[in-house]
C-alpha cells in the first residue's frame, strides 16, 4: 500500500500537470476555429450522450497539421528556430567553456565568489534583464555611445532588431546553464591527470584536447542540451531583441494565439514543436543516465 502511494504521487503529478494539459492542447489542435467562447469547435458536451460523443470525435480532424505544411511560414520558422538555437548553443559553449575552466582552475577560496557572480543575475527578473539589453544594443544605446566615444566607429552599429541581438540575448540568458554542468565536470577532474599527460609527452594544449575535453564531455553535452532545448522554443528574446525580421517558432505561436486568435493552429504548432523537442530531450536523458552509471 505504501509502495503504491509512493508511486502514485509522481504519477498523479505527471497526469495533472503534463498529460491532461497535453491532451487538451492536442484536442484543440484537432478542432476547427470558430467565433465563439472558447474560439473553437467542437466542444465536449456530455449532455448529448453517446451520440453527442460520437459526433464530437467525428468533428476532429488533422486539417490544422495539413495547413502547417501548406503555408511555408511554419516550416521556415521551425528551420530558423533550429538554426538560431543551434548557433546560439555553439556560441554559448564557446563563451561558457573558458569561464567554467577558469572557475575550476581558480584558487579554492575564489570559487564560491565566482559561482555567486554566475548565479547573481538570476535574482533579477528575466524580462528586466532582456529589456536592459535594448538599452545597451539600440542605436543610441550604451554600446554604440561607448564605441563612438572611443572613435572605433563613426556611425552607430545596427545591432538591435537583428539576429545578432537574438544571439547575444540567448547566450547571455542561458550562459549559466552551460557553465554549471561543465564546471561540475572540470571541478572533479584530477589535476594529476593533466600532469600525467604532460609527463607522457603532451604539450599543455594537447593535454587539454586529449584529457580535459574528453573528461568534461558529459558536462559539455548536458550544457548544450540545457541551452538548446529552451532556446528552440524561445519567445521573449526574439520578440524583444529580434524585431520583425527574426522568424522563430515561439513568436509564430504567440501571434497565432493572441493576434490571429486561431487556437487550433497555434495548438498544432505547439504539438509539432513538442515532437521536435522530444528527440533532444530523450538524448539528454540518456546522457544523464550514462553519466550517473559512470559515477557508480
Amino acid at each position: 500500500m505504501r509502495r503504491f502511494l509512493l508511486i502514485a504521487i509522481p504519477y498523479a503529478w505527471l497526469l495533472a500537470l503534463f498529460l491532461v494539459p497535453f491532451v487538451i492542447v492536442l484536442k484543440i489542435s484537432l478542432s476547427d476555429t470558430a467565433l465563439a467562447i472558447p474560439p473553437y469547435t467542437p466542444t465536449l458536451d456530455f449532455a448529448g450522450g453517446w451520440a453527442g460523443l460520437k459526433s464530437f470525435f467525428a468533428d476532429l480532424d488533422l486539417e490544422n497539421f495539413v495547413w502547417l505544411t501548406q503555408d511555408d511560414l511554419y516550416w521556415k520558422a521551425y528551420l530558423s528556430s533550429l538554426t538560431i538555437a543551434l548557433i546560439s548553443t555553439v556560441l554559448t559553449l564557446m563563451v561558457g567553456y573558458p569561464i567554467a575552466y577558469g572557475m575550476a582552475r581558480a584558487p579554492e577560496e575564489w570559487r564560491a565568489t565566482l559561482m555567486m557572480l554566475i548565479i547573481l543575475p538570476f535574482w533579477t527578473s528575466f524580462l528586466i534583464r532582456v529589456y536592459s539589453w535594448i538599452g545597451i544594443l539600440s542605436q543610441e544605446g550604451f554600446l554604440n555611445q561607448f564605441l563612438l566615444w572611443t572613435g572605433l566607429i563613426s556611425e552607430p552599429l545596427i545591432i538591435l532588431n537583428t539576429k545578432i541581438a537574438v544571439y547575444i540575448g540567448i547566450v547571455y540568458t542561458y550562459l549559466p546553464f552551460m557553465i554549471l554542468p561543465i564546471y561540475a565536470a572540470l571541478d572533479r577532474l584530477d589535476e594529476s591527470l593533466i600532469e600525467a599527460a604532460e609527463d607522457l609527452g603532451c604539450s599543455r594544449l594537447s593535454a587539454f584536447w586529449l584529457v580535459t575535453v574528453p573528461l568534461s564531455k558529459n558536462g559539455i553535452v548536458a550544457g548544450c542540451f540545457l541551452v538548446f532545448i529552451p532556446a528552440l522554443g524561445e519567445f521573449v528574446i526574439p520578440s524583444l531583441l529580434g524585431g520583425s525580421g527574426t522568424l522563430m517558432i515561439g513568436k509564430v505561436l504567440w501571434e497565432e494565439f493572441f493576434s490571429n486568435r486561431d487556437w487550433p493552429v497555434a495548438s498544432a504548432v505547439a504539438i509539432v514543436l513538442l515532437l521536435i523537442l522530444v528527440v533532444p530531450i530523450m538524448l539528454f536523458q540518456r546522457n544523464q543516465q550514462k553519466q550517473a552509471e559512470a559515477e557508480q
Binding site: 584530477d190 594529476s192 609527463d199 607522457l200 609527452g201 603532451c202
Partner: protein, 375 residues
C-alpha cells in the same frame, strides 16, 4: 667490499645520472628544500624517505619537471634540466593516485606516451604487448581503469610510465594505496621489474620498511634537508644522528656524558646510581661531551640473572610485553624510570614464556651493540 657488488656511489670515477647541486626550493616564505646536494647513479633503486612535509615529494616533482628549483641546479646525464618542461624530459613518473586516464582502456593508457612520440603502429603494438606481459596484464588490456582492482591499476600505472623506456622513473608512494599483503608482494615485483629493465628508479615513500626492502640506497630527509644517505643496512646499523636512528625502526636512546676509555671506547655516565655503560665509536668524543647511545631492541638480551661476561648490564622490571607472534618486545623499566625495549624471537610456545609482567630481569648488550651519536 666484493668487486661485483653494485655500489657506484663508492667509485669516485662514476658519473652520476642525476646530480642535485645546492638546490633550494621555496614556496613563498616556506623553504621546502634547503641547499641540498645529492648524486644518484644509473641503475640505482633510490628511496627518498621521510615524514610528510619533509620535502621528498618536492624533490621528485623537481625531477619530473613540475617544479623548478629556486636556487642551484639539477643535472640529468650532465645536462642542466631546470626549466625543461615535463614533456621534454627522458623522465617518467608514476603518480601516487596512479592518474590513469579514466576514459581510455588499459591498452590505450599504456600506449598514450608512445602515441605522443608518433611511434610506428607495429612498434607501438609490440611495445604495449611487452609492457602488458611484464606487468601480467594481458587479460585486462580492453578494460577501463574503473573495471580493474587496485593492484592491477598500480601495475597499469607502472606499465604506462615504463613504456617510453625513460632514463629515470619516479615513483611517488607507488604502493601507498595497496593493503599490506599485496604491498609486500608488489615490492618484490617492483625490484624484479627494475632489474629486468635496468631503469633507474627513484621512489618516494614514508614507509621505512618499504624503502629498506626495495632500495639500493636510502636518503632520510627531514625539513628539506638530507639527514643521511646510505645503503639500508648502514642506515639501520650505523645511523649518524638520533633523528635517523629514531626514524628507522625501533630504538632505545640513552643520553649521557662520554669519557674516553681506551682505543675508540668510551665510558658513558648516564644515570645517578647506575653503572656506566661502555661503547665503541669511530666518531671521537672528548671528556664530558654529551652523547646518545642508540641501541636496537633486538641487540638487547633479556635474562633472569646477570650474564657473567656482560660488560653492559642493567636490572629492571618487566612493564609491558608486546607480543607480535614471531617476536616479543619487552618494555623493561629501570629503577631510574627509564624504559628500555628488548626484543627476543619467540622460539618457544607462548605458554612457556620465560618472563611475565612484574618479573625482575637483567638486560645486557655488547660494547659494539649500540651506536654512539653526538646529536
Amino acid at each position: 667490499m666484493h668487486a661485483t657488488t653494485f655500489a657506484p656511489w663508492e667509485d669516485p670515477e662514476a658519473k652520476p645520472l642525476i646530480r642535485f647541486q645546492n638546490v633550494t626550493k621555496r614556496f613563498g616564505t616556506f623553504t621546502a628544500i634547503d641547499n641540498l646536494s645529492l648524486d644518484i647513479y644509473e641503475r640505482e633503486f633510490f628511496a627518498l624517505l621521510g615524514p610528510s612535509g619533509c620535502g621528498k615529494t618536492t624533490m621528485m616533482r623537481m625531477l619530473g619537471g613540475f617544479e623548478n628549483p629556486t636556487e642551484g641546479r639539477i643535472e640529468l646525464s650532465g645536462q642542466d634540466i631546470s626549466g625543461v618542461p615535463p614533456n621534454k624530459r627522458a623522465v617518467n613518473m608514476m603518480f601516487q593516485s596512479y592518474a590513469l586516464f579514466p576514459h581510455l582502456s588499459v591498452w590505450d593508457n599504456i600506449a598514450f606516451g608512445l602515441r605522443r612520440d608518433r611511434m610506428p603502429k607495429i612498434d607501438l603494438e609490440n611495445r604495449v604487448a611487452e609492457m602488458l606481459k611484464l606487468t601480467r596484464l594481458e587479460k585486462f588490456a580492453k578494460r577501463k581503469p574503473h573495471q580493474i582492482s587496485g593492484g592491477q591499476r598500480q601495475r597499469v600505472a607502472l606499465a604506462r610510465s615504463l613504456a617510453k623506456a625513460p632514463k629515470l622513473l619516479l615513483l611517488d608512494e607507488p604502493l601507498g594505496a595497496l593493503d599490506k599483503k599485496l604491498r609486500q608482494d608488489t615490492q618484490f615485483e617492483l625490484m624484479d621489474i627494475q632489474e629486468k629493465t635496468g631503469t633507474t628508479f627513484v621512489i618516494v615513500t614514508h614507509d621505512q620498511e618499504e624503502a629498506m626492502t626495495v632500495a639500493s640506497r636510502v636518503a632520510v630527509m627531514d625539513e628539506g634537508r638530507l639527514m643521511q644517505v646510505a645503503t639500508p643496512d648502514r642506515i639501520y646499523e650505523t645511523p649518524d644522528s638520533v633523528y635517523v636512528a629514531d626514524f628507522i625502526g625501533d630504538v632505545n636512546i640513552i643520553e649521557g656524558t662520554a669519557t674516553p676509555d681506551g682505543q675508540d671506547t668510551y665510558r658513558i655516565d648516564w644515570a645517578e646510581g647506575q653503572e656506566p655503560i661502555r661503547a665503541t665509536s669511530a666518531h671521537p668524543f672528548a671528556t664530558g661531551d654529551r652523547c646518545y647511545l642508540a641501541i636496537r631492541p633486538e641487540k638487547v638480551t633479556i635474562s633472569a640473572d646477570r650474564p657473567e661476561a656482560a660488560i653492559n648490564a642493567v636490572k629492571g622490571k618487566v612493564l609491558d610485553i608486546a607480543y607480535l607472534g614471531n617476536i616479543s618486545t619487552y618494555h623493561v623499566e629501570l629503577p631510574s624510570g627509564t624504559v628500555i625495549k628488548a626484543q627476543t624471537a619467540n622460539t618457544r610456545r607462548i605458554s612457556r614464556r620465560s618472563f611475565t609482567w612484574e618479573d625482575s630481569v637483567w638486560l645486557s648488550w655488547t660494547v659494539t651493540g649500540g651506536v654512539l651519536l653526538a646529536e
